[in-house]
Symmetry: C2
Subunit: 326 residues, 2 copies
DNA sequence: CTGTTAGCGCTTTCAC
DNA sequence: GTGAAAGCGCTAACAG
């Protein structure tokens, strides 16, 4: 490995001058600067990041913890977050959660050299999260409801559930199904709570099917096997709605003619013509990702003394062709 | 920040012993070990990664360079690659390419502390790639055809193009459209070359539309405006095929009744019922991601002296419902 | 403007 | 089995 000492020797200057050329070129005489730069190029020198961050106590890294990227929701979250991280001059380090072993990533990320950690809509293990907090690294939660007093950015999930109920009710559906949301997915539980309260107030009849996204067929079958089928299904996430759509089409249903389908989250795919999924989401002119990353960067720069901020965004209806009035 | 010295003081041992507890617990007496571990927990101590890698000259990081994750192809590539990287005990660092400024990521990744770099199907800037090579960091290209002598993993793109032509010809289509592939996307160019050669040999008539994926409407319109419309369209990637499907449905075509659609790459989404896209891809029992990451890890461990390896995978037809015989 | 020097937190000989 | 001491490559005073 070529070090700044090698460069210094070749350029005939001290090692400190090489360092200056890198960090404060203005403080170096033009001829010296040129000599050093020439040596740097000639030796193909790249400063050692480890040595730098050993001194600066900064890694320049922000870690992201996300679920698998084959879920478009996660892919979007990760994509947008990385972009913001790069824009702000940090490097993004990713830790993917394995659904078969959800807590392991929470454990391994504790050893990260990252200056901040962004957690996407993942399965939470409270104990692991508690340990993570103890590291003192600023945390930022997206679309999650961790134990209080943490930085949070999300759709107002309870309101979103209520908005779903309100909308479906306005379409005259009274016999409705709720699909998805495992106990560990706290944000989906909140969506359901909001939905359920508002649906009750509107005298709607709810069939609820809690289920993992990969295990939707049985609960859907059970729902549709009833004599009184739901005329509308609300999916806890758009991704769940896609799966449901797949299932419903296979079973001969037309959407929305036979059954209305409403998602929550308004994932990008939902707007495509072949999906055309009505959904409850955050208004398109809010940039929750910038808001979240900005807040995290601020927390990093200010040190840990600052108190946490919860940012909740009001739900908006995106009406498309998967729902209809009856 | 709490250092190993703090731990040593609290435990009443030397700093070196703390280090041993971390790296070679067997070489430490049980009572001492317990004392130190207690101190570690009490102080919430986490070893400084920068100091460690300064000595070991290892960062334990592998960088991934990919296009935006809103493209499912990229999301799949990134997802699978990260998984393999994690499984092998490395940390994944991601650099996303911005389509409006494709070379900037190639420049910024040169400053990475990563021990290896994996490049997904991105837009290549030859000069930037050349500079990247000069860093001496082992490189691994997925689905790309960089200037020779680099580690490479990919579908045999030329053969895949030929297989597409062969298949479409077997379905009796003779008037066909080819969609997508910009000059900078070398792997797509190869697909087209293979297709074109084989199509010619089968006396097929080709309408070719080179276009960026976000700019498909005009070339598709032009293609379909002709008196002799193609009866089949081959998309350079599955993602392009999805967009085309979207467009075709909008314009009143039924697939495959009015027009057959064939993708290349066999992206996971293609197998979903609502897509059901026939595609040419790599056999499902090959794990190209493990192959690629394993090779890269080997290159990292062996040092740079090893010569590069090209892994090309034979194309396989995945016949679904978007294509039909005429 | 440039060189000398002292560490950053850790691993790793080398003594004891 | 444990401690003392020497750096890893770099930045940041401090002199000159």
């Amino acid at each position: 490995m070529v070090s700044s000492i090698d460069v210094a020797k070749l350029a005939g200057v001290s090692q400190a001058t090489v360092s200056r050329v890198l960090n404060d070129p203005d403080k170096v005489n033009k001829p010296t600067l040129d000599k050093v730069n020439a040596a740097i190029r000639q030796l193909n020198y790249r400063p050692n990041a480890a040595a730098r961050s050993l001194i600066s106590r900064k890694s320049g890294v922000i870690a992201i913890v996300s679920g698998p990227l084959d879920n478009p929701d996660n892919a979007e979250f990760t994509n947008e977050t990385i972009k913001r991280i790069q824009e702000r001059g940090f490097i993004a380090e990713i830790h993917l959660q394995d659904s078969s072993n959800p807590e392991s990533v929470l454990l391994s990320v504790q050893n990260t050299q990252a200056e901040g950690i962004i957690l996407g809509s993942i399965v939470i293990d409270e104990i692991a999260i508690a340990k993570l907090k103890k590291t003192g690294i600023p945390l930022m939660f997206f679309d999650m409801e961790p134990a209080a007093n943490e930085h949070t950015v999300s759709l107002d999930n309870r309101l979103a559930g209520a908005a779903a109920a309100e909308y479906i009710s306005s379409l005259n559906h009274s016999n409705v199904g709720w699909l998805g949301g495992e106990p560990s997915e706290s944000h989906l539980q909140l969506r359901y709570q909001g939905f359920q309260e508002c649906a009750k107030a509107n005298n709607m009849n709810i069939l609820r099917a809690m289920a993992a996204i990969d295990d939707l067929d049985a609960p859907l079958s059970a729902m549709l096997a009833r004599k009184e089928r739901p005329t509308a299904i609300i999916a806890a996430t758009d991704m769940i709605a896609y799966r449901a759509m797949d299932f419903l089409v296979d079973y001969g249903y037309r959407i929305p003619d036979d059954i209305s389908l409403l998602g929550i989250g308004n994932a990008p795919l939902s707007a495509m013509s072949y999906m055309n999924l009505s959904s409850i989401g955050i208004s398109g002119d809010r940039d929750i990702y910038s808001d979240g990353v900005d807040r995290l960067v601020k927390a990093i720069e200010e040190g840990s003394a600052n108190k946490s901020v919860e940012m909740k965004y009001a739900p908006v209806l995106f009406e498309r062709n998967s729902t209809r009035k009856i």
